[in-house]
Point group: C2
């Protein structure tokens, strides 16, 4: 997931959002959780959230988890200005 | 980097492109190289290429390497229909 917030860079609102997002790492099934700075001048996204799941069931459970649902409704939808969801599955394309 | 090829899914042309892309892993400085299937129904990209670099110098050297330049000119530009470059730097956003 790459995204841009409606908040000013370096603002308290931005820090608050990122702290709330970091709590997603505690949801069962989430592995390799990272919040990253997106720095390419070729797109307008500012942050990325990266996480891995062992299988589709783990991903589905995360999606339905009350803490995830609450984050999406309470923080993501009101505070994220633009985003792109990217979902990878290791598979045919692997070298 | 996420991208979509001009080739049909499962075609020999697609396989040829992915094989050529996999050779990028041999360029000095490239770490954690992966070609991944992009499976989100929320975007139109089909594959991702993910790699890591120790620092900006390693990334710059990769960018300027003749094998990378040849791949961009000989395969990427003619065969990639749409792409988005995403560059992450571990930094302020890290939890």
């Amino acid at each position: 997931m790459v995204f841009r917030l409606s908040h000013a860079g370096g603002s308290e609102d931005e820090a608050g959002f990122l702290a709330a997002a970091a709590d997603l790492a505690a949801i069962p099934g989430v592995e390799e959780f990272q919040i990253l700075d997106e720095v390419s001048p070729k797109n307008d996204y500012r942050f990325g959230i990266s996480m891995e799941f062992a299988d589709q069931g783990a991903y589905d459970a995360y999606n339905a988890h009350p803490d995830h649902v609450a984050f999406v409704e309470g923080r993501w939808e009101p505070e994220v200005e633009e985003f792109l969801e990217i979902d990878y599955r290791a598979g045919d394309g692997a070298p």
